[in-house]
Amino acid sequence: MKPASLKNKIGKRLFPNLMLHKKAESLPLSINWRRVFILPTKPGLFFGFICLLMLIASLNFNNNMGLMLTFLLVGIAQVALYRVFFNLTSLIIKGVTTQPVFAGDEAQFTLHIKAITTKYDICVQTNHTHNCLLEIPADETKPLPFSQLTTKRGWLEGGKIKLKTSYPFGLFYAWIWTRIDTKCLVYPKPENTPPPLPKNEFNEGNKKIVKKGEDFHGLKAYQPGDSIRLIAWKRTAQTGELISREYQQTLGDKLLLDYAQVRLPNQEDKLSRLTAWVMSAYQQQLDYCLKLPGFTSGYDCSSQHHLSCLKALALYGENNG
C-alpha cells in the first residue's frame, strides 16, 4: 500500500467528515459543524501573546484590575472562538455557475451561498483568489465568485476551495474545504498572431457565397428552385433560355476551417489556430464551417454556431465531449 493512500485511509477512518473534500460533493451542500476547522489567526496569536504578558505582569504584582482586564480579554477570545464557528456552520452552497473561458484566462465560478441566519465576512479562497461577502442576510442567497487558473482546454472542475471566515474580531478563523465538481468549459487558447483566414486555397472553400439579398448582382442561368419572381423575363425572351436575376447580400467566400488542412505538427497548436480563426470569422460575420475529425459543423454565422464550434474545439479528442 502506498503511504499516501494509507494516510487517506487512516484519515477517513479517524476524521470521516474532515476528509470530505477529497471527493467532490453534490450540491446543495449544507456546511456541517463536524467538518469545520478553527485556528487562531496571526493577529489572534499576537493577541494571545499580549494577554499572556498582561497575565504575568498582573499576577506578579497582584494587580487585580489588571487581572480583570486580562480575563475580560480571555473571555472575549472565548466568545470569538464560538462565534466564528457559528458564522460558518449551516451555510448552504446552493449551486455553482460558471462561464466558458479560453485556456490561460481565469475560469470564473460563482458560488451561490444561502444563509439560514445572517452571516458576515464569508470568504472563498483558492490558490490565487480571495473574495469576501460582507454580509449574507438571513434566508437570502448571495453570489460569491472565485476563479481558477486554466492551463489547458477541456472541462475544468471548480476544484478544491476553502470557505472561511474570521468574524467577529479576526482573532480566529474557521474554514472548511470542499471540492466543487461543477465544470467550466475551457476553449483552446487562441493563437496569438494567427495567419489570415484561409481563402481560396481550399477546393471546397472556393465557392462563392450566394445569398439572396437586395443588391442586384448579375444574371445567371435559371436553376430549379429559383423564385419565379427572380426570372429576368426580358433577357429570357432575348436569349430563349431562362435567365434569373441574382441578388447578393454579402460578397465573400464560404469558409471552411478544416483541421486536416492546418499545417502544424502539434494537435494543440492546430486547435489554437482553428480557435483563433473561428473567433475572427465570427467577428467578421462570415459563414464558416468547422471540420474536425468526427465533427462537422455546417455553414453558419450565428452565435450559437460559434459557441458549438468552440465547444467542439475545446473537447476535441476527449471521450466525454
Partner: protein
C-alpha cells in the same frame, strides 16, 4: 499560501478613525504623568494620520518617521534618564504606540497597534486601581475591541454604527462570565516573582515628615480618604482617637522635622495589658511614604513594619499600594516606654537662639509663678482658652518670629499653630517637648471609621520627669469641639469654600463606602481570600488538582453559557412587511374554514382560495397580482403604498367572506 492583492489589506478611513480613537483612549489617563511634550506629539500624530486618511495622500516618508521616533526617544532619555524604571518604561511604551500610528498602513500594523493599546491600558492600573477606573476599563475595552471588529468587518459606512456597536457590546457581555469566574478562581501568587508591588507609586500624599507653616492647612480642604479603621469591639470616643503619625523633634525656627535615627522600640504585652488593649484593622490608602498610622499609644508593630523609639510606625518601602494592617493600642495618660539619653533631652529642649524673644520672656515670667510643669501646661492652656484665641482655617500668614506674632498679634490659627506655639513655650521653659502629627477623629461610616485627609491634626507631647510622655492638645483648649466631635463638626459650622456643604460631604461618604467594599472584594482580593473561596466550594487547599478541576469546570460552564447567549442573540431574519401581509391574507381564509397549508406558495394558495370562495375571485386575483408586483418588481416605490393598497383588498375580501357566510 495565497497570493493576495495588497489593496484588500489597506485601511479605510473608518478603520483609521477607530484606530486613532483606541490609541487616544489608552494613552489619555497617562497624560498627566507623561512629559509635557507628549500631548503635542499625540495631537500632531493623530492630525497628520487623519489628514493622510481622508485626503488619501501618501503616508509620511520612512525617513521622517524614523527621525521623529529618534527625537522622541532622545528627548525621553535626556529628560528622564536612561533607567529601566516604571516612568520611563511607560513613557516609551506610550510614545511607541502613538508613533506606530504614523506607519500604520496595512491591517497587519493596525492589529498590532490596537492589541498594544490593551497593554497600555494595563499599565494605567499599576498606578492606581481606583473604583472609578472600572468605568474606564470597560469603556476602553469596548472601544478597542470594537476597533478589532471594524478591522475585521468594515462596511465603510457610518463611523459610529449603533448596530455594529451593539454586536461588539453583546459579545463583550457574553465574555463577562468567564472574566468574573477566572478572576475569582485563577490561582494568585502569594508574593511577586520579581520586583516589588511597591514599585508603582503615585507621589507623596497626606502627612509628611516635616511640618512648616501651611503644610497641614493644605490637607484641610482635602476630603479624600486617608485610611479606614475597623474596630473589633466598640469604637472609642472621638476625643481618644489620636492617630499617631510622624513625630517631629527638630525645630529650626520655621520647620519641624522628624528624628531620622532608626532606633526601634521593644515593647512587651503583659497580662495586665490585655484588658485595655484596643485591636483594629486599618486600610491605608497609598501615601508614597513610609508612615503607618495607629492610635496613641501604639503597643506593637504590625507585620512588615517597625515601631521606632518615639512610637512612630515605619515601613521598609514606600506605601504605594493599598495597605492593610492590624494594630494594637492602649490608652494611657503617660507613656514611659521610651529611653532618652542626655543628648535626646538636649534636642528636645532646643530652640533656635534669638527667635521669638517675646515668647521666651513671657515663659520666663510665668515659670516663676508656677511650681510644676503641669501647672505651667495648665496656665498656657488656660491662656489659649481665655485670651481671645480663635480657631481659624485661614489665619494670616506668619513670617520671622512666627510664635511671637501668633501669640501676641494674630491670635488665630489651627492645630499647627497651637501645637507649634505650645511646644516652643514648653522648650522655652526648659521642658522637653515635641510635636506629633497625624489624624484626629474620624467619621463612623456604616461599620468602619472613615478618616479623611481633612482630619489631619498636630498636637504636642511633653516629657514629665519620672512619669513619661504626656499628650497635650492645645487646640482642644481653643476649640473643644474639634477634639470632642472631630474636624467635621467644625466644618459643619463654617464651610471651607462655596462647594462645601453637607450634601456633597454625605455623597462623598457614601462613595467611600462603595470604595471600601471595592477595596475589600476586588482590589485586595488575594491568595488568602481565594483560599477561603476554594474552601467554600469544597477544596481544602489550592493545589494543582483543585485548580485544574475548577478552571476546567469554569471553561465548561462558560462554554455552555456562551453557546446559550449566542443562540438567543443569533442574528435573526427580520420579518419583511410582505411576509406579514401575506400571512394576514392567508389567515383570513384559514380562519374562515379553508383547509390548506400555510406555507403554500401565494399562487397556489390563491388558487385554493378561489375554489373555496369563488365570489371573491376578483379580489383574490387583485391581491395576488399586486402582491407579486410589489414584492418582486424592483422599480416600484415599495414602502409607501404597500400596506394601504394590499390592506384595502384584504378588508374587501373580509367583507366578501362575511356576506358569503350570511348567504349560506
Amino acid at each position: 499560501m495565497a497570493k493576495i492583492q495588497l489593496t484588500k489589506y489597506l485601511l479605510s478611513s473608518k478603520q483609521i478613525f477607530w484606530i486613532l480613537l483606541s490609541v487616544t483612549i489608552s494613552v489619555l489617563p497617562h497624560l498627566p504623568r507623561l512629559p509635557l511634550w507628549f500631548p503635542i506629539l499625540l495631537i500632531g500624530v493623530i492630525l497628520s494620520r487623519w489628514l493622510t486618511a481622508i485626503k488619501q495622500t501618501k503616508p509620511l516618508p520612512k525617513v521622517i518617521i524614523i527621525l521623529i521616533t529618534l527625537t522622541a526617544f532622545i528627548t525621553i532619555v535626556y529628560f528622564q534618564g536612561f533607567k529601566l524604571n516604571r516612568e520611563i518604561s511607560v513613557t516609551i511604551l506610550a510614545a511607541m504606540t502613538v508613533l506606530k500610528i504614523l506607519e500604520t498602513n496595512t491591517k497587519r500594523d493596525a492589529w498590532m497597534v490596537v492589541t498594544l493599546c490593551y497593554f497600555v491600558i494595563l499599565t494605567r492600573f499599576f498606578y492606581s486601581q481606583d473604583l472609578l477606573l472600572v468605568i474606564y476599563l470597560f469603556l476602553s475595552v469596548l472601544i478597542i475591541t470594537h476597533t478589532l471588529f471594524i478591522l475585521q468587518h468594515d462596511n465603510k459606512k457610518d463611523f459610529i454604527d449603533k448596530r455594529e456597536l451593539k454586536q461588539t457590546l453583546g459579545l463583550l457581555a457574553t465574555g463577562l462570565p468567564l472574566a468574573v469566574l477566572f478572576f475569582l478562581f485563577f490561582p494568585r501568587l502569594g508574593s511577586p516573582i520579581w520586583g516589588s508591588p511597591d514599585f508603582f507609586g503615585n507621589g507623596k500624599t497626606g502627612i509628611g515628615d516635616s511640618m512648616s507653616p501651611g503644610s497641614i492647612s493644605q490637607l484641610f480642604s482635602d476630603d479624600s480618604t486617608a485610611f479606614r479603621a475597623t474596630f473589633k469591639g466598640t469604637i472609642p470616643n472621638n476625643s481618644d482617637l489620636y492617630w499617631r503619625g510622624p513625630v517631629l523633634w527638630d525645630f529650626d525656627g520655621k520647620t519641624w522635622n522628624t528624628d531620622k535615627r532608626s532606633t526601634s522600640l521593644q515593647t512587651f504585652i503583659t497580662n495586665n495589658d490585655t484588658d485595655s488593649l484596643i485591636s483594629y484593622e486599618v486600610e491605608l490608602e497609598p501615601t508614597g511614604q513610609k508612615y503607618l498610622f495607629a492610635l496613641d499609644y501604639v503597643k506593637t508593630a504590625p507585620a512588615d513594619s517597625t515601631l521606632k523609639a518615639d512610637q512612630q510606625l515605619i515601613t521598609e518601602n514606600d506605601i504605594n499600594q493599598l495597605r492593610h494592617y492590624t494594630a494594637l493600642s492602649q490608652f494611657k495618660t503617660y507613656n514611659s516606654n521610651e529611653l532618652l539619653s542626655p543628648e535626646d533631652f538636649a534636642r528636645l529642649k532646643y530652640l533656635p537662639p534669638s527667635f521669638n524673644p517675646k515668647t521666651k520672656a513671657l515663659i520666663q515670667q510665668w515659670k516663676r509663678q508656677v511650681r510644676s510643669p503641669l501647672e505651667l501646661i495648665n496656665k498656657i492652656l488656660t491662656h489659649f482658652a481665655t485670651d481671645e484665641f480663635y480657631y481659624s482655617y485661614s489665619p494670616p500668614l506668619l513670617m520671622g518670629d512666627t510664635v511671637d506674632q501668633f501669640l501676641f498679634e494674630t491670635k488665630s490659627g489651627f492645630c499647627e499653630h497651637y501645637a507649634s506655639a505650645f511646644t516652643v513655650m514648653m522648650r522655652a521653659a526648659g521642658i522637653p517637648a515635641r510635636i506629633v502629627t497625624g489624624y484626629q477623629g474620624g467619621i463612623l461610616n456604616k461599620d468602619y471609621l472613615l478618616v479623611k485627609q481633612s482630619d489631619a491634626h498636630a498636637w504636642a507631647e511633653v516629657w514629665i520627669q519620672n512619669k513619661g510622655w504626656l499628650r497635650v492638645d492645645p487646640t482642644s483648649a481653643v476649640s473643644p469641639l474639634r477634639v470632642e466631635q472631630g474636624s467635621q463638626a467644625l466644618i459643619r459650622q463654617n464651610s471651607r469654600n462655596w462647594l462645601d456643604n453637607s450634601w456633597s460631604r454625605k455623597l462623598g461618604e457614601r462613595y467611600d463606602t462603595i470604595r471600601h467594599n471595592w477595596n475589600k472584594w476586588v482590589r485586595e482580593y488575594n491568595a488568602t481570600k481565594q483560599k477561603a473561596i476554594f474552601k467554600v466550594i469544597g477544596f481544602d487547599s489550592v493545589n494543582g488538582r483543585a485548580i485544574i478541576i475548577v478552571l476546567g469546570t469554569i471553561i465548561l460552564i462558560t462554554t455552555l453559557l456562551v453557546l446559550f447567549f449566542l443562540y438567543i442573540n443569533r442574528p435573526k431574519r427580520k420579518q419583511s412587511p410582505y411576509d406579514k401581509i401575506q400571512k394576514k391574507f392567508k389567515q383570513l381564509f384559514l380562519k374562515n374554514g379553508l383547509t390548506a397549508e400555510e406555507n403554500l406558495g401565494i399562487l397556489e394558495f390563491s388558487k385554493k382560495a378561489t375554489e373555496y370562495s369563488p365570489q371573491s375571485e376578483n379580489s383574490i386575483q387583485q391581491f395576488t397580482t399586486l402582491y407579486l408586483r410589489l414584492r418582486f418588481a424592483e422599480t416600484e416605490n415599495k414602502q409607501v403604498n404597500l400596506d394601504n393598497r394590499l390592506l384595502k383588498i384584504i378588508i374587501k375580501i373580509k367583507n366578501e367572506l362575511r356576506t358569503k357566510g350570511i348567504k349560506e
